[in-house]
Structures are given as structure tokens and as C-alpha cells.
């Protein structure tokens, strides 16, 4: 069977899988960004309980494997009476795992804001909340976006794992088609190309655009 024939027969299925992959990606990006922000700030808190909680969370999720976390959420949580749908379980596991990495990036970004900014905000008698919200946070984006972009590409790759907890995404469909037709080169080759395409021509340009936008907003780099 030629490749064109393969595509005309299974292309639609793979495309459906791609849509699911993009859905998983979008939801887990939203979740991981929120988690990173919260835990990144908690990590810098002066309160030892808040800081300790964040540290334990981050070390736990960075110390164990994503696949283990995913299976734990999907197969073990029902033991405790929490049954999640495959899609939800996948997004939650991805969000929690990448949120832990993201929190460290946010923490680094906040610490990297020049000390003069903190002192200026302090001397102008801004409240701690206002200081964070209006002075520090807007400045961290140009610092955190490059590492966050790398992390987001890693996240796209990691979404492939949700196929193992029965989310019908691109990887799942490719495996399915492979088990029916045994056209492994076509199945997995196409899947690889689709992932590559999403990463190189959609995700990365979008993140670069965000980086430019962020540095423009605080008056760095060009118009």
C-alpha cells in the first residue's frame, strides 16, 4: 500500500487524534501555568509552612517519573474514591508535573528581577501585594519565557503519554492503526511528523512571539 492510500484511509483518524492531542496540550498548559505561578510565589514566602508545602510539592513531582504519576492518578486514586476520566487524569497529571518544574522557573524569574526594583517599590511604600502585582510580576515575563518555552515543548512531547491511560490522542490512534495494519513506518512516521510540525511551526513560533511581546511591553528590545 502506498503512502497516499494510507493517508486517505487513516488520515482522518490521525487528524482526530491530533485534535485530541491539541486539546490535552491546551488544557495542561493552562493548568501548569496557574500551578507554577502559585507555587513559585509560595516557594518565596517567608512563612515556613507555606514555603515547606511548596518545596515538598516541587521535590515530589520532580523526583518521580511522569508516567508513574499518570498511572497513579488514573489507577490508584479510585482506591480513595476519586475516579477521574482518562482525559481529566491526563491533564491533571501533566499539569501537576510540569507545574512543579514551572514553579522553579517562576521562582528564578522573581529572584532575577534587579534589587533596585524591590527597593524602589519598598521606598515608595507599596504594599507587598501591590509591589508583587504591579512592579515585580510584570518584569518576570521576559526572564521566564525562554525557559518556559522549552518546558512547553517538553509538555507537548509528554502529552503522548496520556495515550497509555486510554486517552484517544495521536499516539493512541497511531498505535491502534499499527495494530490493525502493521504499517509501522507509515503510522509512527506520520505521528512523528505531526508532532514535529506542531512543535516547530506552531508552538515554537507562538512562544517566540510571546517573548517578543513581553520584552516590548516593559520597554526592552526594539519598538
Amino acid at each position: 500500500m502506498g503512502y497516499i492510500e494510507f493517508l486517505s484511509e487513516h488520515g482522518a483518524t490521525l487528524l482526530l487524534g491530533t485534535v485530541m492531542t491539541l486539546k490535552v496540550l491546551a488544557c495542561s498548559i493552562i493548568l501548569y501555568v496557574i500551578i507554577s505561578m502559585i507555587f513559585g510565589l509560595m516557594r518565596l514566602s517567608n512563612n515556613p509552612i507555606i514555603q515547606g508545602t511548596a518545596t515538598v510539592y516541587i521535590e515530589f513531582f520532580r523526583g518521580t517519573s511522569l508516567l508513574v504519576q499518570l498511572f497513579w492518578v488514573y489507577y490508584v486514586l479510585p482506591f480513595f474514591g476519586i475516579s477521574l476520566e482518562a482525559f481529566t487524569a491526563g491533564v491533571v497529571a501533566l499539569g501537576l508535573n510540569f507545574g512543579a518544574y514551572g514553579a522553579e522557573i517562576v521562582r528564578g524569574g522573581i529572584l532575577a528581577v534587579p534589587k533596585g526594583q524591590w527597593e524602589a517599590a519598598f521606598s515608595l511604600n507599596f504594599s507587598p501585594v501591590k509591589r508583587m502585582k504591579n512592579i515585580i510580576i510584570p518584569q518576570i515575563f521576559p526572564i521566564i519565557l525562554p525557559p518556559a518555552a522549552n518546558l512547553t515543548v517538553e509538555l507537548l512531547k509528554a502529552t503522548a503519554l496520556v495515550a497509555l491511560v486510554t486517552v484517544v490522542d495521536l499516539t493512541f490512534e497511531a498505535r491502534q492503526i499499527n495494530s490493525i495494519t502493521w504499517l509501522s513506518v507509515q503510522c509512527f512516521g506520520t505521528a512523528l511528523l505531526i508532532y514535529y510540525f506542531i512543535s516547530r511551526f506552531i508552538l515554537v513560533p507562538f512562544l517566540r512571539w510571546l517573548e517578543v511581546l513581553a520584552s516590548r511591553k516593559i520597554g526592552k528590545g526594539g519598538i
Binding site: V153, A160, L164, T171, S184, Y195
Partner: protein, 225 residues
Amino acid sequence: MEMGWRWDFAYEILPQMLVATFNTIVAAGVGYVIALVVGLLFLLGQRTPSKIINIINREIVEFIRSTPLLIQLFFVYFVLPQFGITLSAWVCGMITIGLHFGTYLSEVYRGALEGVSKAQWEACRALNFSTIYTYRRIVLPQAFPIAIPGMGNYLVGIFKDTPLLSTIGVAELFHAATAVGGYHYRYLEPYTMVGVIFLILSIPAAMGIRKLEKKVNLAQGKIKN
């Protein structure tokens, strides 16, 4: 079926899990050694004077880096037999992990080489040292400490990605947990134990790397004590 955590069951499966842990460590170690070598090959491809090889090398690295390891595993595992090359799941897994992380390690190497200041090269040129001598005695001894933290991070990274090997049937820790769980129809203890074993092994490793990183930075004079 009893719902809560059962210690007797956990004890019963512990020996099996520990044997599988050993397999996981072996898999991570072998994969890492392959990745170290592959990383060097990609580095060579990047530094050869030929422009065409540079571009091809970069595209290959870019492709491997932006596609999921899981599908790469399936690709190698299912495609090679179609060309008459039948390898065991272990060999396929090691090759794929080596290739995948080799691309990351080549970046670590590149960063380290670029971290050696240009003046060092110029000084060697002025002293009429040969290129090989310059690398061996001047550049590499300075580049290596810069590369250590990155190299360590990817060792931990490989370790944490070994559970993926279970999908093609490599008998490592996660595979054992799934098998045990399926046999007794109890997933709580096996999967939790996998998580705990990973934590026990990877947190000290990560802490050691952080310490090493600090030491390296200190020795390089980047931060003050």
C-alpha cells in the same frame, strides 16, 4: 476487596520490585553511556567545517528533540523488524534512549565548549600549540567542569524516563509494578512503591548534582563563597 493500604501485600511484592529496580538502574546506566557517546557524535557533526553536514546535523537534532520519546520507541521497536533487523526490546530501548538524550547532551557539550573563553584559544595559537594539544590540555579541562551539572541532570532525566521502556516490554520497575498489579488486581501498593523508590533514588541524586554545581561555580570563581 480490601480498600486501604495493605502492608503484608507490600512486603510480599517487595523482593520482586527490588529486582526490577536493579533492572531500571542498569537500563538508565547503559542508556546514559550510549547517550554520552551519541552526544559526542552530534557535537562532531556540529563542529565540522562542512556547512551541509552542519545543517543536516542540526535538523536531525531538532527533529529528535521535538518528537516524543514514546513514539520514537514504538518506531524503532516496530519498524526495524520490517527491514529484517530484529532486536530485543532491551536493545531497542537503549538505542532510542541513547539517541534521544544524545541530542540533549550534545547541547550540553556545546555550551561547555563555548563557555571556555576565546582568549584561551588565542593564547594557545600564540604559543603555537597544536589543535589536539589545545583541546587536550587547555580547552577540555576547562570545559568539563562546566558540563558536569548538565550531564548530571540528564542522568536523572534518563532515569525518570525509563518507565517508558515498559511499553515495549522491557522488564524494568514500572513493568514489574504493572504485572504485579494486574496479577493481584491491586494497583495501589505497586504503583505507590514505584513512586517511593523513584523518590528515594532521584532526590539524593538531584541534591548531589546541585552541590556539585555549586562547587563547580565556586571553583570557576562565578560566585563567592
